[in-house]
Structures are given as structure tokens and as C-alpha cells.
Point group: none
Chain length 220, copies 4
């Protein structure tokens, strides 16, 4: 749960960020196995020796940056969730827009997530999933349950399963944007380019139609 050493925590912010950025970059682009600790140290302009004083192994460094990036995502989600006077539909669209923006600005973070997702390291996954997913699952479930109370959301669906499917749609969109296999797959499904702004609006419109039908009651 605590992956960094006190010595790392005491470092000045600039140095910490350098290390974090270097690690995320390497892990996101190469994957856990192919990532190279010595290269991370070099990119961060510190020595391997120091890196090993800050994190006791390659795995710990990986877990640290994963944990970290989850916190960032959690924050954005929290803001949406707690917004008052917002319809379920608006909230969903808001999250969608956040996701598409994050995809471009923090592609490496998403890649890191994707990497984690397929990780076979069983000892990591249990712990991590608990930390990272508990919040978003509760968040989505709550939005839907509240929506059922107000009549916005279909009454006949299980909020937990629906939240799961909702997040699946979000996840798939995220992963499809950051390159690699799922990016190619996306292009096969949706011929047009992925990089244009107009396309973003098309994706949002179609995804909203899909989710409205799946989750919401007709609007009068």
C-alpha cells in the first residue's frame, strides 16, 4: 500500500515529478516486463542506486505510479459526481468528455492502465483493483441508483450491473484511443480517422444515444 520509501517522499516536488514522469513513460510504452529500470533512472537524471533507495524493486515503482495515476482520475470523477442539479444524462456526457480529453492529454497514463489491466501478476491485481475501482464503481452505481429514484433511469435494471456495463463502455473508449491493438481495432470498426475534433463529437453523440437507450427512460 506504501510503495515508495520515506526518502522519496521527502524529495522536492520537481525531482519527484521527473522520476514519476520517466517511470510512467517507460512503463506505458514498453509494458512492465520490457521496461528498463536503468533507462528510467537515466531519463529522470538520477542514479539507479538512488532509484533503488526510493523504491525497493521494479514492481514497487510500477505499483507506485499506477496508484498515483488512479488518484488523478478519481479526482475528476468525484467532481462530476458531486455536481448538484445535474441530470444523469449530463453527468454521463460530462464523464465522456473528460475521458476523451484525458485520452489526449494523458495518453501515457491510460496506457499504463491498459498495461495493468492485462497484467498476470496476481499478487498485484487484487490489491490494485480494490484501490482503483472501488471509487468509480460506487460513483457510477450511485448516479444510476439516484437516477432510478428520480425516474430518469430505467427502473428494471440492476444498478450494479448497469454501472459495470457503463464503465466498460468508457474503458473501451479510453483504451481505443491510446494506440496499440485496440486502436487498430477501433479503426477497423469505425473507418474514419480518430484524430479530428468533429469525430469526437460524432463519437460522443453515438455513444450517448447508445447509453441513453440502455440506461434511461424516454424523456416524456
Amino acid at each position: 500500500m506504501k510503495y515508495s520509501s520515506p526518502r522519496f517522499d521527502r524529495l522536492d516536488e520537481e525531482k519527484k515529478q521527473r522520476i514519476i514522469r520517466a517511470a510512467i513513460d517507460e512503463f506505458a510504452n514498453l509494458g512492465f516486463e520490457a521496461a528498463n529500470i536503468n533507462k528510467i533512472a537515466r531519463k529522470a537524471h538520477i542514479s539507479v542506486g538512488s532509484l533503488y533507495k526510493y523504491f525497493k524493486s521494479k514492481k514497487d515503482l510500477f505499483l507506485y505510479v499506477i496508484q498515483l495515476s488512479s488518484d488523478l482520475i478519481e479526482e475528476e470523477l468525484r467532481a462530476v459526481n458531486e455536481a448538484p442539479f445535474m441530470s444523469v444524462e449530463s453527468k454521463i456526457e460530462k464523464v465522456l468528455r473528460i475521458i476523451l480529453r484525458t485520452n489526449r492529454q494523458q495518453a501515457n497514463l491510460i496506457r499504463l492502465y491498459l498495461e495493468l489491466t492485462s497484467s498476470s501478476n496476481n499478487d498485484m491485481t487484487k490489491l490494485l483493483s480494490f484501490n482503483l475501482e472501488t471509487f468509480s464503481s460506487q460513483c457510477y452505481r450511485q448516479i444510476l441508483a439516484n437516477g432510478q429514484a428520480t425516474g430518469e433511469v430505467r427502473a428494471d435494471i440492476d444498478p450494479a450491473m448497469a454501472a459495470f456495463h457503463l464503465d466498460n463502455i468508457f474503458l473501451a473508449l479510453q483504451y481505443s484511443y491510446v494506440g496499440g491493438y485496440l486502436y487498430e481495432r477501433y479503426r477497423i470498426y469505425v473507418k474514419e480517422g480518430i484524430d479530428s475534433i468533429e469525430n469526437d463529437e460524432f463519437v460522443i453523440a453515438e455513444t450517448m444515444k447508445f447509453l441513453q437507450g440502455a440506461l434511461l427512460n424516454a424523456k416524456d
Copy 2:
């Protein structure tokens, strides 16, 4: 596109299966990078030398087993797609049931796919995604487009994007069953165990409700 040597193709079925199983097992559980060719050979009770006569590199062996498993899935999908006199709804449910069954019987194959999904090996992904996804994307798009013609499927959605979302739901379900991070995530979303048969029916029912709303016109 042809990843195995003729020498491998000529092998008797039992030996071929031994090798394929050993490779899938190793790749599915460790990932491409961490998988060990020498261990695969040992598990398959053949020599490394032989393995390298059958497949000219680690990558080729990986690509071979990926390709292979895609063929299996394609076959099932084809049967559903070509079934006459079947409603869109029934077809979707059929695929869903196939997926849940496959998850249990061929967990390693699914794990292999998941592994591929996060692969950063850019030269592989383009090729593979084309081989593996072209069929299913066309298949789903066709089902939906036909459904729009018969009035079963909502007229206001883009069949390509809808097919993409549909497959995303399927994919997420698959990956959530085979362990690792996404399995833990699933358990967080849907508290009850994953392994009971009753649960399967619950998942199917809820997923069908979700997809009906998302894709289909009301039935009268």
C-alpha cells in the same frame, strides 16, 4: 500470415496440441515478454531446437497461437451470423451465451487475447488486429444493419459505432471472467460470485436488457 513451418503442420495431432497447449499456457499466464521459450519446450516435451524448427521465433509462436484462437472464435461467430430466421435479439443472446461458455472452457485463450490487447509491440498489432477483428466487426455491423432494414434495430444509430460498442460489452465480459485485474474489478462492481450458474443467467438477463435498450426498437 503463415507463422508455423510445414514441419510443424506435418506433426501428428497429439504432439501439435501438446505444443500449442504449452505455448498458450505460458503466454496466457506470463505475457509475451515474460514467457520463456525454453519452458514452453520443456512443457511440451520437445527440445528447443525442434520448437525453433516449427516456429522461427518466439514472436511467430505467439502469433501462431493468437491466430489459432481467433479462428476458433470466428467459427462460432460465423455460425450465429449465418443462422436463418433468427431475430437480432436472439443472435445477440446466442453470442453472449457462447462467450460465457468459452470463458470457462478456454480461459487461457481469452487470457492470450487480453495479453495481446495491451501489447505495445506495434508491428504485431496492426497485422493482428486486421486478421482478428475484421471478421467480427463486419459480422456485428451486418447484423445491426439488417436489423435496421427489418425494423428490429433503432434507425437513428450508426451501425458501425453501435457494433463497436456491442463488441466492447462482449469483450469486457470476456476479459472480466478470466482472472487478473479485470476479474477483481468485476467482483467489485457485482459483489456476488462469478462462478455460479445462476449468476450466468443473471448476467445474461441484465446484459440483454442493457443491449436491448441501447440497440433495439421497442417490440410493438
Copy 3:
């Protein structure tokens, strides 16, 4: 001394030649270590198994083709040596012309020799040098000693050492024609291209001037 098995000797000429050519080609171009027995078998359109029935090891095959090619060269030399009524100068020029011709026609054989020359395999070299060099050394020594008797050749030189130097000049020319390091070195020494016929005549003229001065008495 006998590097091939009786079974090989009994083979029909065409098959023998195929094997010999394949072996010379491989050894000449890759060197002993890098040469690949399996590739030689493939090039010769026979099985490795057979190759190992014909020659009991890679080394034996190498020694066999070396031995063989020496016989070819010896034959040409013998003809020159035994020519009656020929001046020492003419004989030397004759050999020179043979060498330049051989360089083009049997480049692989020369390469093979060059390969042998640098061989560190001490157990091979003693034996081989005896087989291959005894004849040419005697041949040149005899030409020079006879020349001293007739007054053509300088009386003040040791025929053995002179024969050695003479052969060194020949050897260097040979090796410089067949590519690799010595070819590049030759080009650095003698800027003009190596491949033109006119150049051949230039090389012969200059080499003859050099050898005449070194070995022969002024002609009147």
C-alpha cells in the same frame, strides 16, 4: 589423410561434384566456423545424414575440399615446371598469368585457401601445409636452381629463400583478388580498378619488372 569415406568415393561423379561445390562455396564465403553443415547438405541436395556418412565431421569435410583444390593448382604448376625450352622469365610470367586467370575462374577456391591460411586449428595445418606446399616449394626452388646453373638467375641468392619470396608475391596477388580485407587493401595501394583486363597487363608488367630485378641477372 583420407578425409572421405569409401561410401563417398563410390558416389557418381555428378553427386560428388554437387557436394564439393556446395562445401567450397560455403566454406569459402563464410569461413570454417561460420559455415553451416546443414546448409551445405541442402545446397548439395542431399541429407545431412548422408553428408555425415560421407565425412565424419565438419572438419573432415573442410580438409577434404582443401586437399582437393590443392591438387588442381598443383596440376597447373606441374605443366609449367615441366615445359622444356622455356626461360625462367617465361615460366614466371606463365605462372603469373595462370594465377590471374584462376583468380577469376576459381575465386572460391582461392578464398578457401585464404581461409585455411589463417586457420588456428593447429592439428590441421601441419599436415595440410605439407601436402599443399611441398610441391610448389620444390617446383619454384628447382626453377631457380636450374636458372642459376644456366646463368639466368642471380648466383648470389639462396634458391630456397628466393622461392619463398617468389611464392609470397604470387600468394599476395591471389588473395588480393578474391575480395575481403586484402582486396580493399590492394585498392588502397593501387587506386585504379582491379577488374579491367588492361589492368591485368599492367599488374603483370610491373610484377615482372619487380621479380626480374629481384631474381634475374641482367640480360646481357
Copy 4:
């Protein structure tokens, strides 16, 4: 052109020499292909890992020691070439004496050269020949051309070709001293042992006679 890493350059002299000696020893005795990097590391009492930090590949280590030995030879040659008030004859004899001395003191270096000479590695040879031969070719050509100006050297010969032949004689002598095939060949040509001092003087005398006749004008 720079085959070693800065890290290697910074090493203390003793360690550098240990590594260089180990490498020269291995390459000279086994040849490039058969040489074993692990064995070199062990002989030098360092780890393979370190060796690979000092030289980024087996080839680079090979190129480094070749380059190194060429520098040594070049230095000696330069001294002779620049000596003032020395007749062409004296210069040639000086080089000859250097060669015979080097043969005993640096046999492994010469062996390394010989190994290179027969290398089929075409990408290395071009580069190396240029580095190693350009100097000596210019050096010999200059000596001869100057000699033609002073009347010491025959006016009727091409200095470039003559320099080439001169170096060939030197090269052959070198290679004949360091063992292997050419050593055996030398013994066949010149029966007496190679190892006695008197023999050195005999070789020098005979070689000088040969070269005087080939290159120089009669001394009045």
C-alpha cells in the same frame, strides 16, 4: 571509429591491459567466430556485464583490439619514415628488423591481423582496411618515390605497385612467423629452424638482396 565506451577509457591502465590482453589472446588463437566473449571476460577477471558496458558487442571488441594493434605498428613505421638522412636501403632494412622483432614480441597481435585478413565479414573489412592500410601504403610509396627522385630507386617502376609488392613481402614474413599454416609453409620452404638468431640474420640478408634487386639501382 570509436569502438570502446567512455567507461572503458576511464578504467585504470592495469585493468584495461588485462581486458585487451584477454581479448587479443582469444581472438588471435581462435578467430573471431570461435572466440568466446564469456571466456574473455573470465580471463580478464571481469563480468560479462562489464565487458558489454565497455564494448557494445563482440564485433566492437574485436575492432577495438585490431585498431589498437594497428596504432602500435603505425607508430614504429612513422619513426622510420620520418628519419632524416637515411638511405632507402637502410629504411627498408630497418622496417624488416622491426617486423622480425615484433613477430616475437607481439605474436598475438600479428595473429589477430592474419585473422582479420581472411575475414569474410564484408562490412568490417572495408572500414578497417582503410584505417590500417592507408598509412603504410602512403609511407612505402613515399619512400620509393623519394628514392626515385634521389636516384636510389629504379626509375622504371610504378611506386604504387612497388610499394604493394614490398608490403606483400613484409606481410608474408610476418604471418610466416606467428604459427599456424603459414609457419608450416615457411618451414617447408626454408628447412632450417625459424627460431635462431642466426636465422634472423640470414632471412634479413636474403630478403634485402631480393628487395635491392627488385627496387634499387645498382650502387654505382
